[in-house]
């Protein structure tokens, strides 16, 4: 384990890529036995910083000390040998191999083994799982594990390599509230054993629950470092974004007009007898633990996996949704959970992405009206507050928050009557998050039905005036959010009312 008091020290580390200054001088100190959270909006240099620490990038300037020793040049293998382990967002596990093999493989590679010793691998895996209190069948293939358990495998794999510093890159993005709690217990446990831990995260509430110390990065610089107690919510947000962000609660005026009415919607194995009404001005939230059927309702309304029975009434008209084409005909838009693979063409321009769902409109006799497409895209870029320099830039060049804004713009360009958003702000930074919420509220006021499917309770409380809680495919309650606190809601979720 970690021997010195300070495990890692970075002193004015700079990293330039050509003319781009990704890190403009970051100083960071990580102590043994502490949980250090690294927060910052997308594009603030967090990923670059991690890559410098893991040896994947060489710092352009600045000094790195590990356990008090000055390191001149840090290579990936050096970094691992010195006890630095990074758990990436996608965990980098092998779905086709067993739990035991996944855990033991890096160790075997690090020691330069030529042979695969199955018995040793199994023992190593069991030992690692015991250390963090995970219980998995070591012989099961990782493809059969839940996201949370895949993460456990990644953690086990990291700690058996004598990790002294464990870096977790946004470890909670795909976890439910319960799983986050379990993860926190494991992280605290590792800390007790003297391990230094860095967590990259930008969910405020999660940071408050786990961090000892906090460093906030903005535009490649560390703007603040200190014990977590020194940061109240307002200071935190201000450091993060550079400006004050209003933390309003959405309370719409009351309208009689019903936009969507769903009655007895059922799809066997996914959800049963779902009923709700969405009035003009409403922002309706759907939440529940993973597997509760919350995402499936969205999929059903958009025709991805249509419901079997039940009626859907949209603006007073009974409609039947059997396919995505049906849904689009009735002007329903869907922002999927995973924008990278389901919502965007990453290697296409912003313009092509923006008109993707409304391309028919730009069809002229002689072909597509490119000029009009570009104009419309540029208008959306401005309206929605996307930081893009041109409508022709590749989607891949946008940060998570800006990309998500364009997914929303794509659907707004179809002039939807109902917009369903599944995890609208996953992987989106605080500033963009607030922007997206404002956009949604404005749309709701204009009479577009807005449904948010999410497990970000804070987001739901602040943005939805009505909330459906799903449990095992059933609606276990419909509540007006009122002044409900996050803790109360967590209680409801886990008890299922």
């Amino acid at each position: 384990m970690c021997m010195a008091d300070t495990f890692l020290k970075l002193d004015h580390v700079k990293k330039y890529f050509g003319g781009v200054k990704a890190l403009k001088g970051v100083s960071l100190e990580v102590k043994c036995g502490e949980i250090h959270c690294l927060a910052g909006e997308n594009g603030c240099g967090k990923s670059t910083l991690i890559k410098v620490i893991s040896g994947a990038h060489n710092a352009t300037e600045g000094e790195i000390y590990i356990e008090g020793k000055r390191i001149d040049k840090l290579t990936p293998i050096d970094s691992i040998r010195m006890g630095i382990q990074v758990i990436y967002q996608d965990f980098a596990v092998f779905p086709n191999l067993s739990v035991a093999e996944n855990i033991a493989m890096n160790h075997a590679l690090m020691t330069g083994a030529k042979k695969m010793k199955w018995k040793e691998a199994r023992e190593l895996a069991l030992h690692a799982m015991e250390q963090i209190g995970a219980h998995m069948d070591p012989d099961i293939l990782v493809e059969r594990l839940s996201v949370a358990n895949k993460q456990m495998v990644a953690i086990c794999r990291a700690i058996i390599n004598d990790a002294k510093l464990l870096i977790l890159d946004e470890p909670t993005t795909a976890l439910t509230a319960n799983e986050v709690e379990k993860l926190n217990i494991i992280i605290r446990n590792l800390k007790e054993k003297g391990m230094a831990i860095v967590i990259v995260n930008h969910k405020l509430d999660e940071i408050y629950r786990i961090a000892d110390r906090l460093t906030i990065l903005r535009n490649g610089e560390n703007v603040a470092t200190g014990m977590i107690e020194e940061f109240d919510r307002a200071r935190f947000v201000k450091c993060l974004t550079g400006h004050e962000v209003a933390d309003d609660i959405y309370r719409p005026e009351y309208f009689e007009e019903e936009i969507v009415k769903v009655e007895n919607l059922t799809k066997k194995g996914a959800f049963e007898n779902v009923n709700f009404t969405l009035r003009k001005g409403d922002v309706l939230g759907i939440t529940g633990l993973l597997g509760s059927g919350r995402g499936e309702i969205g999929d059903a309304l958009f025709g991805l996996a249509p419901a079997e029975t039940g009626t859907i009434t949209l603006n007073g008209k009974k409609i039947e949704i059997r396919s995505v084409q049906d849904a689009m005909k009735y002007k329903i838009g869907y922002v999927p959970e995973d924008r990278l693979t389901q919502g965007l063409f990453m290697d296409r321009s912003i313009c092509q992405n923006t008109v993707a769902a409304s391309i028919g409109r730009y069809m002229e006799k002689t072909g597509l009206d490119h000029k009009k497409m570009k104009e419309v895209t540029w208008q959306w870029i401005k309206t929605i507050g996307c930081a893009a320099s041109s409508s022709e830039a590749m989607m891949r060049t946008l940060s998570g928050g800006n990309a998500q804004k364009m997914v929303i713009a794509k659907w707004l360009n179809t002039e939807p009557s109902l917009l369903i958003l599944n995890g609208p702000t996953v992987g989106v930074d605080v500033g963009s998050k607030a922007d997206i919420h404002t956009i949604l509220h404005e749309l709701a006021k204009k009479g577009i039905g807005i449904m948010i499917i999410s497990d970000d309770l804070n987001e739901l409380i602040h943005n939805c005036n009505k909330l459906i809680i799903m449990k095992n495919g059933q609606t276990s309650g419909i509540i007006e959010t009122g002044d409900m606190s996050e803790a109360e809601l967590t209680g409801l979720l886990n008890s299922g009312m």
Binding site: F94, N96, N106, M110, K114, K115, E143, R144, L145
Partner: protein, 332 residues
């Protein structure tokens, strides 16, 4: 424990075993002679070449790729070697095997270069190399069938391990060349299961990026995989010629579908990362039975292609459906 037994009884391999047993019983009822030593010998002989190719193809598919160039590589390696040894009067089979292996290795390296370095999709790369190799054979080496194989090489086809004479006095003999696929099976089994290289092949088939982060040399592994595939394609080609006692520049062309079918029916997932040597042997056995023995059920010859096609479609669908079921099943 019960669950584990159930798991074992429903693995891909066991399902293929069920089908093989069912087919054998069916054929055995119609023609009891089938269930005898003679069938074992004929089938082993029929499986010999397919096994050589199938083992390599399996390794390539596990690594997340595919190789459709092996028949063309086998043909060019074998045909150029035969013409060379005849022209220079070289008798040694060892020299001939060395030469086919080297030519095969070179084409394998070309495949690997295109796939690992230039990053072409494996199907496109090997399709292109296949065309190049086949075209070169016909354009530069000619189209003549050669039947005057050097004597010492020809003699290899007459070395037998087992001889069996049935009641009617017909003699069945098992060629010693069967030792080539048998030793390949043993080596492949060991390498895939018990060496880091073998696990690396599975790892890159599962997730290339994760393999790179874990510290595997992905490019090196891909080179090893495609080069061994080329090498054994050459050896398979020459072995085929010795068994047939004549060299034809096109003889193996078109066998890739059948080989890939055997591999996939044996439980190797076409998307990479999964597959076993045992499964591949069973897949090859199943296809061999269908090709050689369906006639005993009174099914006319031209129906065999139809049945092989059917097996490919059904077999691959089952594997694919299982993969989909696992993807959708409740996670633990």
């Amino acid at each position: 424990m019960n669950k584990k037994v159930k798991q074992i009884l429903t693995t891909n391999e066991i399902i293929v075993v069920y089908i093989i047993i069912a087919l054998c019983i069916l054929i055995g009822i119609v023609n009891p002679v089938f269930l005898g030593m003679s069938t074992a010998i004929t089938l082993s002989r029929a499986m010999l070449i397919t096994l050589i190719f199938a083992i390599c193809e399996m390794v390539v598919i596990i690594s997340g790729g595919i190789d459709v160039s092996f028949p063309a590589v086998a043909c060019i390696a074998m045909y150029s070697t035969i013409r060379f040894v005849i022209a220079f009067g070289i008798e040694s089979p060892i020299f001939a095997y060395g030469m086919v292996a080297l030519i095969g290795l070179a084409f394998g390296a070309l495949n690997a270069y295109l796939i690992a370095k230039i990053k072409l999709p494996p199907l496109i790369a090997t399709l292109g190399v296949s065309s190049v190799a086949n075209g070169a054979t016909l354009a530069f080496l000619g189209t003549k069938e050669i039947s005057n194989i050097p004597e010492k090489m020809d003699a290899l086809s007459k070395v037998f391990l087992i001889s069996y004479t049935n009641s009617q006095g017909i003699t069945y003999q098992l060629t010693a060349l069967i030792l080539i696929p048998v030793s390949m099976i043993i080596v492949a089994y060991y390498v895939l299961k018990y060496t880091m290289l073998g696990r690396g092949i599975y790892a890159i088939g599962g997730d290339k990026n994760a393999a790179r982060i874990a510290g595997f040399n992905v490019t090196r592994i891909q080179f090893i995989v495609y080069m061994s595939s080329g090498l054994f394609a050459g050896i398979g080609g020459l072995t085929y010629t010795i068994l047939m006692r004549q060299a034809s520049p096109q003889s193996l062309m078109g066998s890739e579908m059948m080989v890939i079918a055997a591999v996939v029916v044996g439980g190797t997932r076409i998307t990479g990362g999964h597959g076993t040597v045992i499964g591949t042997i069973l897949g090859v056995l199943l296809i061999a039975i269908v090709q050689n023995n369906l006639i005993m059920l009174g099914i006319p010859t031209h129906f065999q292609t139809f049945v092989v096609g059917l097996i490919i479609v059904i077999g691959t669908s089952i594997t694919s459906l299982r993969a989909k079921k696992i993807a959708n099943s409740a996670k633990v």
